[in-house]
């Protein structure tokens, strides 16, 4: 673990955070199966140590990339910073307004129109109606979905879904943007546009935490990187060293395929 110079202006401060949760591995938890199980005295609850004693901080205006294999705890870590999953131990301190773009994005009710979903998502995130109305046009314009906003989201293509989600997250004027594996949405043009928007946000003294398997994106955008492995932080350094170590660990050469895919 390398210690980077800790800025005085910390946006996110993660202090020996562990996240453990219990989940059931039943396909569908039901009363019926619970009663049957009680009769057989089985237990189906499993404890998952998703994040173990992780400490780092992100200064304002920094882009932090998080890399790691599937199930390494990256998403859990980001959810903890977002306040969705409370830590089991440790402490997370976040200074500034957070906007999240986690794997699933907006569109929690596919039968509602894009407009309704944006409004509901914004209100849930704590915005006021007036503030939302102010940003609404920007969101729609950036996503380039003007004529689709009043259609139910089930009629959207997955690219449109992703574009809207990205647009909502970045147009909330967040101080801190948490992005989980979502930069690769839309067509090549929109990807370029979102990368540009990201660079713009980083230039504005905003902070970005970026989880991605696309190592090329991390290398290009991030100022620092963290490598998560089995819930633990293996490395915290500049992106190049982290990616080198990570790819070495994966025993794949850092060739064009790894950088561009996903």
């Amino acid at each position: 673990m390398s210690s980077l110079s800790v800025s005085e202006r910390t946006a996110v401060n993660v202090e020996s955070v562990s996240v453990t949760y219990r989940t059931s591995f039943e396909r569908a938890p039901t009363l019926r199966s619970t009663m049957l199980r009680l009769g057989r005295r089985e237990r189906v609850v499993r404890e998952i140590e998703a994040v173990r004693n992780v400490t780092f901080d992100v200064p304002h205006g920094t882009v932090l990339g998080i890399v790691g294999a599937n199930g390494a705890g990256k998403s859990t870590l980001v959810r903890t910073i977002a306040g969705i999953l409370p830590p089991t131990a440790g402490r997370v301190e976040v200074h500034g307004r957070v906007s999240t773009l986690l794997a699933l994005g907006v569109g929690f009710n596919r039968n509602l129109s894009g407009r309704d979903n944006v409004v509901l998502g914004g209100l849930a995130a704590g915005l006021k109606r007036g503030q939302l109305a102010e940003k609404y046009d920007d969101i729609v314009a950036f996503a380039e979905l003007e004529e689709f906003m009043d259609m139910p989201m089930r009629t959207y293509s997955s690219g449109m879904y992703g574009r809207l989600a990205f647009s909502v997250a970045v147009n909330m004027e967040p101080d801190i943007l948490l992005i989980d594996e979502a930069l690769s949405v839309g067509d090549a043009r929109f990807r370029r546009k979102s990368a540009e928007k990201m660079r713009e946000l980083c230039g504005e003294d905003r902070t970005v935490v970026l989880v991605s398997h696309a190592l090329g994106t991390i290398q290009e955008l991030a100022d620092q990187a963290i490598w998560m492995d089995k819930g633990e932080m293996r490395m915290w350094d500049d992106p190049e060293s982290v990616i080198n170590a990570y790819t070495e660990f994966l025993e794949v050469r850092q060739d064009a395929v790894t950088l561009e895919e996903m």
Binding site: P29, A82, V92, L104, V106, L120, D175
Partner: protein
């Protein structure tokens, strides 16, 4: 709140009271989030609960003329069906002229609770993506279901009022008693909605059991009969029924035209407040798990 904070940069920052500038996430003590900030956040996002309920109602065509007509017709038909049922079972004649008004008032109050539960039960499991994507007090979801149910209860007042007048039931200041009873019904509805919404996360078949439970609950509540007609050996059912006291008081005020008996009000108060607190604490202690259980 410990650790001295350095002066925060304010260059581009909009210092809005709602923009939650500093968040600290720590392990929840005794499984509960810090109550004061929870309630604060909840209140701050009240517009979300209202908007969620509004979109739900719009889905049910609440905003069209025919949809509104249906909202009035539906409870009217419901009352007629139950009136016929009870009247036939009773071999006719044993009811006084006020019975239909009693049945209607009781049925509408019951269906407010009924709707709160049936809308609320899936509020958390259906809110999946929203829950996975953003941090907000999850109690907003079941509470929004209560708003939906209440919006559907309001038109039933219009259906009931003419029946009340035609039947010649007394109108006077005693009717103000309906307000505290209604407040307790809302509290009860919130409690029950939170309870079933949290339970549904763990037992996904709960929503399919509920119609039976609710049907039985209607039959043991003083809706299809007057509370005082309940035989002594079954009186205890009114006490253990969360709606027993409140519906007795409801009928006392609306149908009998006098202030409710303090016993029923106290019983209703205990059930309403008690259930609200217990269910609220239960919901909050569970809600941190929702994101990993969905």
């Amino acid at each position: 709140m410990s650790s001295p904070t350095l002066p925060r940069p304010s260059r581009h920052r909009r210092e809005d009271e709602f923009s939650g500038e500093r968040h600290v996430y720590e392990p929840h003590t005794v499984g509960l989030p810090p109550l004061r900030s929870y309630v604060h956040e909840l209140w701050r996002r009240r517009e979300f609960a209202v908007e969620l309920s509004r979109t739900k109602l719009r889905e049910q065509h609440f905003d069209t003329a025919l949809g509104q007509l249906w909202l009035v017709l539906n409870p009217m038909l419901l009352a007629l069906v139950y009136f016929l049922l009870v009247d036939i079972l009773r071999a006719s004649g044993s009811h006084d002229g006020k019975f239909f008004a009693h049945l209607m008032a009781g049925l509408f109050a019951f269906y407010f609770i009924h709707n709160s539960i049936t809308v609320g039960v899936k509020s958390v499991t259906k809110g999946g993506r929203l829950i996975l994507n953003s941090a907000f007090p999850r109690a907003l979801l079941p509470l929004s279901a209560v708003i939906t149910a209440f919006m559907r209860f309001l038109p039933t007042i219009i259906v009931y009022a003419p029946v009340h007048i035609i039947t010649g039931l007394p109108i006077g200041p005693h009717l103000l008693w309906t307000l505290p009873i209604l407040a307790l019904l809302i509290l009860l509805a919130c409690g029950l909605s939170m309870l079933v919404a949290a339970a549904q996360v763990y037992f996904r078949d709960l929503s399919s059991f509920l119609p039976y439970v609710l049907r039985i609950w209607l039959y043991i509540s003083p809706v299809l009969y007057y509370a005082e007609r309940v035989p002594d050996r079954y009186k205890f059912i009114l006490d253990i029924n969360p709606l027993g006291g409140l519906l007795t008081a409801w009928s006392d005020v609306l149908n009998r035209g006098h202030a409710p008996d303090p016993g029923s009000m106290l019983l209703g108060l205990a059930w309403g407040v008690g259930l609200f607190i217990v269910a609220g604490l239960f919901f909050m202690s569970r809600e941190r798990e929702f994101a990993v259980r969905l």
